[in-house]
């Protein structure tokens, strides 16, 4: 199962490693541990 949606990378972002920190919405019935997911920003 996947949750998905658009993540916009601003035009002023430097290329290279970045992080997407994920957690469940505040009203979710289930708790979550924020998780840092490593990503690579590339040139547009």
């Amino acid at each position: 199962m996947l949750c998905h949606g658009p993540v916009g990378v601003p035009a002023d972002a430097a290329t290279g490693k970045a992080i997407v920190r994920c957690e469940l919405s505040p009203d979710c019935r289930f708790p979550s541990l924020p998780t840092d997911l490593e990503v690579e920003i590339t040139g547009g």
């Binding site: 993540v7 990378v9 035009a11 992080i19």
Partner: protein, 264 residues
């Protein structure tokens, strides 16, 4: 999987912006560690049956709040010439001894589109360590071997699905290991605070929207050992918050928050 070193680099205050909002300062902390210390999980197996194949494969399932209940799974073959791993030894009572009665499962071998697979049907699985007067029972437990991966699924407490093993792309989906010491550890179920894993989303292009996809579930001991819920688990009003933490071209730390509300 936590990356303390990397996370520490992001502790300082961030410039936070929503897609429609102006930047604002916000302090962030690195995420906490996961609920289970995988490095501390014992890798001993108390007893193995006589194995017939040339190379058994090992995997380990953890149950319980801190992963205290260990259920070893060992894949074997009926003989050295078998074309598939078609025997599964599963430590149903978590006593570390896989020679117990009813702990050997014969799989159903199939071939489709040139690929051989073998599915083991365990079915009803009473979680070891739960009270005899009120046992936790998971249903429709199955394990599937293919040459490239090992998958599993069960209906947790007889209800919603929990399944694995997944990674950031199809090439990283988990398989078992040739040695217990390196066996991947899987954490089925819905008991722990959920964590996340990317799927085909590790590269983001600057200056545009990128479709970002994550699994929701439990991290395992290695990449490719993620266990996830299915697409009906969360209600439509429940979603994932994804905060992009990045540096701008002047090396200033910034973040942008998004909501992942779609499912598939």
């Amino acid at each position: 999987m936590n990356r303390p070193g990397l996370a520490a680099a992001w502790i300082v205050g961030w410039i936070v912006a929503t897609p429609a909002g102006a930047p604002r300062e916000e302090g962030t902390k690195p995420p906490p560690a996961g609920p289970i210390d995988f490095a501390g999980v014992p890798r001993t197996i108390g007893g193995l049956p006589e194995l017939a194949g040339p190379q058994p494969l090992y995997g380990l399932f953890l149950f319980g709040r801190s992963g205290e209940t260990r259920v070893w799974a060992v894949l074997d073959s009926t003989d050295a010439k078998a074309r598939a791993y078609d025997v599964l030894h599963l430590d149903l009572n978590a006593d570390g001894d896989l020679t117990g009665e009813g702990e050997r499962f014969a799989g159903k071998v199939e071939s489709a589109r040139g690929e051989t697979s073998c599915r083991f049907t365990i079915g009803r699985f009473v979680q070891p360590g739960t009270p005899a007067e009120a046992p936790r029972v998971h249903t429709d437990f199955s394990v599937t071997w293919t040459p490239d991966r090992v998958g599993y699924r069960m209906n947790w407490d007889g209800g919603a699905l929990t399944m694995g093993a997944y990674g950031p792309d199809g090439e990283t989906y988990g398989t078992f290991s040739a040695r217990p010491e390196t066996a991947p550890i899987f954490v089925p179920g819905h008991d722990h605070p959920f964590q996340f894993e990317t799927w085909l989303s590790r590269s983001l292009r600057r200056g545009r929207d990128n479709e970002f996809r994550v699994f929701v579930g439990n991290r395992g001991s290695v990449t490719g050992a993620f266990t996830c819920v299915d697409d009906r688990f969360l209600r439509p009003d429940e979603y994932v918050i994804a905060t992009l933490l990045y540096k701008d071209r002047t090396s200033r730390e910034r973040s942008v928050r998004y909501e992942l509300r779609e499912r598939c």
